[in-house]
């Protein structure tokens, strides 16, 4: 047995009264701090369950008259269920299944997309107008997240270049900046996202006019689910997914490289270009492989996400390690 017998105690072993009393106070203090801390954390956790303002809810509606577009990979598509329940949309919470729950009541109608900046004239488009700008085509793209997972999604939309040609950017327009919707009333978890909102992104003008860049209004055979960036977003498949900004409210043509949310949050880790590149690692994890959702083993990541034929020429001569 390891219980030692205490030797007989003398008067000098007695704890002085003030030390004894202070010790209890200290322990009670720590316990109090612990309980308060737990209460604060508990309150914050439970107060996350918010009830959003009731309003007209637009659930995805079927899209008709969609033609088969170019750029259709025949790799296995992910299910609509997967793609609508595994999302990074931090305005609606930072867990992968948060947006599916918290974006249910996101009001996406009426909607205005403003196009301004270095263009001949500022224009505002409603969703009805956007839908009529060009025939809707379905393209099946690989979508690669910077976190090293990927999906294959049939997006519906038309080339961003259609919109760009329509608004006639001036000679000063060198870059295109995008801004996503942000409203703390509809997105109460936004302040906890750890990134500054509204979400902003940007492309070089020649990237934006590349045939692959898709102004996206639907997925599978329906309009975009709220958690996937309803009602209108861009999809830039040769770059990491965070470049494909969701729920766009503004497109602005500018003459210098615009700020982007993830670059602002951590410039060492998220560059302006963020082209998918297995040879340039994220500082904290490798980008050489990815997990295709639904597959067991990881697969090697492709340069430019496999779209090198269409986009490699945009970066001829650029050091992609420097311009990550």
């Amino acid at each position: 047995m390891l219980i030692k017998r205490a030797p007989d105690l003398g008067y000098t072993d007695v704890t002085p009264k003030d030390v004894y009393l202070n010790r209890r106070k200290f322990l009670v203090g720590i316990a109090g701090a612990a309980v308060t801390g737990a209460a604060v954390i508990g309150y914050k956790k439970f107060s996350r369950v918010v009830s959003l303002p009731a309003g007209p809810v637009t659930s995805p509606s079927k899209l008709s008259g969609v033609v088969r577009g170019p750029y259709r990979t025949d790799e296995k598509q992910n299910t609509l269920n997967d793609v609508t329940h595994y999302n990074n949309f931090y305005e609606f919470g930072t867990a992968k299944d948060d947006p599916a729950q918290n974006a249910q009541k996101f009001v996406t109608s009426p909607w205005t997309l403003t196009v301004e900046g270095e263009v001949s004239k500022t224009r505002k488009f409603s969703m009805d107008e956007i839908m009529k700008l060009a025939p809707l085509e379905q393209r099946i793209y690989r979508h690669r997240c910077v976190e090293a997972w990927s999906i294959v999604v049939p997006w519906i939309g038309f080339p961003l270049s259609v919109l760009i040609n329509l608004v006639q950017p001036t000679a000063k327009a060198k870059f295109v900046a995008f801004e996503s919707y942000y409203d703390i009333g509809q997105m109460p978890l936004g302040p906890d996202a750890g990134i500054s909102l509204p979400y902003v992104e940007g492309l070089r003008l020649d990237e934006a006019t590349n045939p692959l860049a898709l102004l996206t209004v639907g997925m599978y055979d329906q309009t975009l689910a709220n958690q996937d960036g309803a009602p209108v977003r861009i999809v830039v498949p040769w770059k990491y997914g965070f470049k494909s900004a969701k729920s766009l409210v503004k497109i602005k043509f500018v003459d210098s490289q615009p700020a982007t949310t993830w670059n602002d949050a951590n410039s060492q880790e998220y560059g302006f270009y963020s082209n998918v590149n297995p040879k340039v690692d994220h500082p904290r994890w490798s980008q050489a492989t990815e997990r295709r959702l639904g597959e067991f083993r990881k697969r090697p990541t492709l340069m430019f996400n496999g779209y090198g034929n269409q986009v490699a020429s945009l970066y001829g001569g650029m050091d992609l390690k420097k311009y990550y």
Binding site: L2, G37, K96
Partner: protein
């Protein structure tokens, strides 16, 4: 309360409760309820439970002191070993489902990715603790040496929190919650140590050495 704590059935119940997260994971796996990225789900769940059990284990001693019910010590070894079990599962998920036993890749990770380096360190540090958790081992090492070795759990808990903090992209709230809890539990011990030292006659013999009563078997 004391009767409840000293009954042998209580240990059985606590054991079953500790197994519940694991059973829940298994159930979800069988029913395909792990979302679109099951490997990520398992990795995060096992990591979370490792940290939770570490925190619960570290809370036993403060609980004993504050409530003045030493019998809580009966559960500390079991809880600590469960932390170790979940840590093993977390590491196995990484080694098998993420890296597929590719040792070269793992070594690269350990060298280059800080969060993996500290995660591995946190895991390696509790292996000797699991190995020396038995009564026989306590006798072999002797009380003082055993006590010193098992202080490594403090280091492991801190490294575990840093591992979590360094792996998240932007939302640091959960790692900070664990940091808070581990910090408080360590502050408590620091406080006890400081107060003990301030006694004019030094600590009473046997009072600052925390040993489980070894007459207990698992």
């Amino acid at each position: 309360m004391i009767r409840l704590l000293t009954s042998k059935w209580t240990k059985v119940v606590v054991f079953a409760v500790c197994l519940f997260p694991l059973a829940s994971l298994g159930w979800k796996a069988l029913r395909g309820e792990m979302g679109a990225n099951p490997v990520e789900f398992i990795t995060h769940a096992t990591g979370d439970w490792t940290l939770r059990f570490l925190v619960i284990t570290l809370a036993i001693t403060p609980l004993r002191k504050i409530t003045r019910v030493p019998q809580f010590i009966r559960f500390r070894r079991m809880l600590g070993l469960f932390a170790f079990i979940y840590a093993c599962l977390h590491f196995s998920t990484y080694m098998v489902l993420d890296k597929f036993f590719d040792v070269a890749e793992m070594l690269k990770d350990i060298q280059k990715r800080r969060f993996i380096t500290v995660g591995l360190a946190a895991f390696v540090l509790i292996i000797p603790l699991a190995v020396t958790s038995t009564a026989a081992m306590i006798r072999r090492l002797g009380g003082k040496r055993w006590q010193l070795l098992h202080r490594l759990i403090y280091v492991s808990a801190v490294l575990g929190v840093i591992h979590y903090y360094w792996l998240v992209k932007s939302d640091v709230r959960k790692p900070l919650e664990y940091a808070w809890m581990v910090g408080l539990l360590l502050a408590f011990r620091l406080g006890v140590w400081v107060v003990d030292r301030s006694r004019p006659c030094g600590p009473r013999s046997g009072s600052s050495v925390e040993l489980p009563v070894t007459a207990e078997s698992a």
